[in-house]
């Protein structure tokens, strides 16, 4: 335990270097901005920023990318509360009560409880990350290829079956991602596959390109085709952000409960923050002493219905870093792209990360504490500034997103071929959106697919071709059994009328 604190202190020494503080700040500002803006999410932003990994040192770049990831979880609440159009799907629950409060002139306290709740949940989340990550990494040192392969299968199935309206369409997206992941050099034998003699395909299809195509181009085309052109209506006025004594009393327990719900859900591959925010909202509704305040009862908006889900959302973001850093398993599209960022530096997130890149990891974790503090300052006193971002008209907003997206893609390897490919993938993205195929499984499939093939073939090499290895070893077998159980989760959820949408 003392050892952990020493490592963390060492991490702080890295994190407070001026350059790293600057990267954290840039990440937090960008993250908040994209959280506020509709149509652009953390997965896309992190993907577009990946070219910086070519130039910036690993700790600076990763600190910034994590700041974006983290900041987006803060910014999402502003749009939900002021406009009733959630910037991220994980803030849908916040919109329910938050926007009702804003309509009754209480936008300020709603924003305050969201920001403070995010800070508390984020800080507790990072604290739990500090405590648990080394333990999980130690445990995972026992994992061999068989364990990793079965864990990846579990991640595939949860990401694609839990989200979206239909398991078939979730798995369809996964199959597309796996297929894309096959293009390029076979990781074990070095044989080119599915390149169709196009030289650009030998290195494989860059996931940045797929992410930007699906998220930016797909979103823009979908929006222009099917969404109304008019601005989404009135914006609620900002009021004083001071919370009353009663507001505090009602927010505190909701923050803590939200954290308790959000963190564990983040650390299992359940695909984003929808389930925990939903659960937190329904918990607060059940436990509230003021059920009449909830919007569904025609009330003026219940503050605990904002406090809980927002806390859950941020604790979830911290929780997701546990499997990401210790196992190399992404639990959402953003996490999958973060893994890609590590890989650009030839660093493989996983149990060995804490040993081989100790200073980097601990610097990253320490920067999350600092980032949370920065985000509290950015989001509470400066909330009015962010609200002004919402006045950017839609044509210029989407045109700007497309310009940045194309730069990100073109900047990777200066190939106009990639821009055409990005457009084609964008058109596929429109079809997927229209027919409600979730997008995240594509990204997770294409990043995790080649990794899992490697583990599979290594595991079978060790067992000399014996497939039962995945069931003979207790840990691998546990993951396989869990995989089968997870298949039933969406059925149960749907029976109870819960429909989850995904986070982009």
């Amino acid at each position: 335990m003392i050892e952990t604190w020493n490592l963390l202190l060492g991490g702080f020494a890295t994190a407070i270097q001026p350059a790293n503080l600057m990267w954290a700040f840039i990440g937090c500002v960008l993250g908040t901005a994209i959280g506020v803006l509709p149509g652009i999410g953390p997965a896309l932003t992190v993907a577009m920023l990946l070219p910086i990994t070519a130039k910036v040192d690993p700790s600076g770049a990763l600190i910034m990318l994590c700041g974006v990831y983290y900041g987006a979880a803060y910014g999402g609440s502003t749009t939900s509360i002021l406009m009733n159009t959630p910037g991220e799907s994980s803030s849908i629950m916040t919109a329910l009560e938050g926007n009702t409060m804003a309509k009754h002139g209480r936008a300020g306290p709603a924003l305050a409880t969201a920001a403070i709740g995010s800070f508390i949940a984020g800080t507790i989340g990072v604290l739990l990350l500090t405590l648990f990550a080394p333990l999980v990494a130690d445990f995972a040192l026992k994992f061999g290829p068989a364990e990793f392969f079965s864990l990846m299968v579990l991640a595939f199935v949860t990401v694609s079956s839990v989200l979206g309206a239909s398991m078939v369409r979730g798995l369809a997206s996964l199959s597309l991602g796996l297929a894309i992941g096959l293009v390029g050099m076979d990781a074990i034998a070095g044989i080119p596959r599915y390149t169709g003699n196009v030289p650009e395909f030998i290195d494989g299809i860059e996931f940045v390109l797929v992410a930007v195509g699906l998220f930016a181009v797909g979103e823009a085309l979908y929006n222009v085709l099917f969404e109304p052109k008019t601005d989404p209506g009135t914006r609620n006025k900002l009021s004083s952000i001071w919370m009353t004594r009663d507001d505090w009393k009602r927010s505190w327990p909701a923050w803590l409960r939200g954290t308790a719900i959000g963190f564990p859900f983040g650390s299992v591959p359940a695909g984003g923050a929808e389930i925990p925010t939903f659960l937190s909202y329904s918990t607060e509704r059940k436990l509230s002493k003021h059920p009449k305040d909830f919007s569904s009862e025609g009330g003026k908006g219940a503050i605990e219905g904002v406090a809980g889900p927002e806390a859950a959302n941020n604790a979830n973001a911290a929780g997701a870093l546990v499997p990401l850093l210790t196992l190399g398993i992404p639990t959402s599209a953003t996490a999958a792209i973060l893994i890609g960022a590590f890989q650009n530096y030839n660093i493989q997130p996983g149990p060995l990360l804490f040993q081989t890149s100790g200073p980097l990891v601990w610097g990253l974790i320490a920067s999350l504490y600092i980032g949370n503090l920065m985000l509290l300052v950015l989001n509470l006193p400066l909330v009015g500034m962010w609200a002004r971002l919402l006045t950017i008209p839609k044509p210029q907003l989407y045109a700007g997103i497309l310009v940045f997206a194309s730069i990100g893609v073109y900047g990777m390897r200066q190939s106009s071929f990639d821009l055409f490919l990005m457009y084609v993938i964008g058109v596929i993205g429109v079809i997927m959106r229209r027919f409600d195929f979730p997008v995240a499984p594509v990204i997770v499939g294409m990043i995790l697919g080649p990794m899992s093939e490697k583990q599979l073939r290594n595991a079978l090499s060790i067992s000399q071709g014996d497939w039962l290895i995945f069931f003979k070893q207790p840990i691998a077998c546990t993951f396989m059994v869990l995989t089968i159980l997870v298949m039933f989760v969406p059925m149960i959820l749907r029976k109870r009328g819960v429909r989850l949408s995904e986070d982009d």
């Binding site: 239909s166 222009v224 085709l225 310009v403 073109y410 079809i431 027919f435 409600d436 071709g465």
Partner: protein
Amino acid sequence: MLKHPVQLAIAIAFLALAAVFAIGASQLPSDGGYAGVGSSFVPWVVSAFLAIIGLLLAYQAVTTGFRSLDAGDAIGSADRRGALWVSAGILLMAALITRIGFVPGATILFVCAARGFGSVRPLRDIVIGAFISFPVFWLFTLVLDVNLPRLINDWL
């Protein structure tokens, strides 16, 4: 008469993709050494996976349509002109970027996309587009060392 032709087309696209991947897999070496599975094994699995998904989607499409889907086949209300403008912007930039340079290319994309989303002031959009592209160009070329194509004859 088919109620969901587009949905069936999507299912058929999955089946076609499965076929393409199966043909590709059949041309890969299957020698697997100790593991017993070689380069072609996972491609076969993915191909089979795609085929199963294609069949399931086809079944849903010809029966009641994709499950729990609100949109159905309604693509009639779409704003095709807007989408054409956005598409034209992206494709023009892709085609021209190496010839006219990064800043003009990005500006064309900006103007076309804004037009697609209903902006009626192209001159103002040109100014904003260039205003966004210039600093990004400098950031990428000077700070990040990414080579972006310069303006004609390298003036900038």
